[in-house]
Amino acid sequence: MTATRIGLLVASVVMVTVPLWVPGDYYISVCSQILIYAIFALSVDVLLGYAGLVSLGHAGLFGLASYTVAVCLGAGLGHVTAIVTAIGLTLAGTAVFAALSLRTTGIGFIMITLALGQIAWGLAYRWVSITNGDNGLSVAHRPAPFGIPLDAPSHFYYATAVVFVLAVIATWIFVHSPFGASLKGTRDQPRRMTALGYHVWLIRFYACLFSGFLAAVAGILFVYYTEFVSPPTVSLTSSAEPVLMVISGGSGTLFGPIVGAILIEIVKNVASAYITRWNMMLGAIFVAIVMFMPDGLVPGTIRLVRRLLKFRRKESPAAAIEPTSSGPVP
């Protein structure tokens, strides 16, 4: 049993039993929130960590899904229709978003995604006839898949957890696939990849679509969670948070964004009890992490653990007769 498998097992047990040991409905809801943001962080990491593209406009896609669900439900459509429409519309939006943003990479990509995110915010804020502007839109009730109502926090939590696990599995498959390897290649050496026969733009485009899909899933869960959506959901702050989660947890890994989401959400919820200035804290954490811990927590911890394990290995007598890895012994 490798360390990873043990870790996974523990995490699964913890996750499945949350409603049993978490004290009270409020905190169970927070756990749902954590999982929702973890999915959102994963969507940002697909681009940031695996494609090398930093998006500061992902809240636009997230919010698009949330608003679509709210608008559909408000128009009297059923939950399934609302969800399917939200995913479809967000994917279409992602296609446009990607087609524009992928005109450049690097800093250019950051700037364009920021601008696009702001357009989305501007629409949410001013297109009052559809979005109800600053007042936001309410969602009357949550869906009841297979007849099970999700109004109770613990029920909603389980539904969210199921979706979360599926999202993680999907991302895991994506990342370990040939396409995932192609994507990572375009991150590291785009020129070479082109010379090797890869269609770098199209690879990035598809990655954006997958990322948009995950953002849509998170957005849909979000609007059912809060039963409300308003322009702040689509703000620059909302786009910056998942970036912070990915960077603090460690980009280019699967668990980094998840750990980052847990960390940031816990700090946010704890902080808001004592400090009303969440944005300032967010900013300060951003600055601190970028300056002092650019790698993120997960890679840093892995390195630390590896070093500790190597240290312990050296201590044991078995290590003395272990062959070194540098080729056959003369």
Partner: protein
Amino acid sequence: MSIWGVLAINSITFGGLLFLLSAGFSLIFGLMRIPNLTHGSLFMLGGYVGASMVLAYDLPFWLAALIAAVAMAVFGGLIERFLLRRLSGSLLAQVLVTLGIAFIVADFCLMVWSGDPISVRTPSALVGGTRIAGLFFPTYRIAIIVIAVVVAAILWALLDRTRLGAMIRAGVDDPQMARVVGIRVSRLFTIVFCLGAALAGFGGFMGAPILTVYPGLDFDMLPLALVVVILGGVGSLLGSLVGSIAIGFIYNFGLVVVPELAYFVLFLPMVVVLVVRPQGLFGKQAP
């Protein structure tokens, strides 16, 4: 005066304010390759600081404007010297740091000045209207346009005629070469950042009588600076001026003609530029 005339004047005025904001942004981006996400915050903070000088300490308008500019220059200098310079290897890290600082400043302003928009009265010398060519224009708005043009001229003279300007232009064109030739690039960065910050802060206070200063002003203005730079070209003073006025028009007319889609209309030129000429914006400097 017809509504379109008023709108036109307002547009040019807004363009003037936007120029004060984007000229610095464009220079910083051109020289340091950093899209300074704190720039909108500097605009807003300058507005708040200047407003406080007038409202709390009863200082004259122009003194407050100067203080706003200097305060932002100092703040900008500190940011550049102690944070950005330390991250000089990684553009992404620098951009993220400027974003983090923007959030800190936003909340700080909320803490100190609370959520209500703060208005500053037009300086008494510029109250009322002026008659030019038989038409009646609000004096203050004309003044802003004049100031923007004067600042543009000064900046142009700085860039074109002084040694500092030559170094800046060299740095924008080719930073490696500039270093080789002996230009102290890191000190240049600090100077340009301070200059940009001062302009932004000054612009924020100049805009206070018209736009007021309110929470959210920072992120309202930042994307506009972005669009101006994309339209006008990075590091180009003329581009910033023309782009600012263009955006001023599009924004103001958009708000009146299609209020619900105003933001969308605003970014449309940017989208067009991106579709038609993407290399043009970032082609010269590799992103």
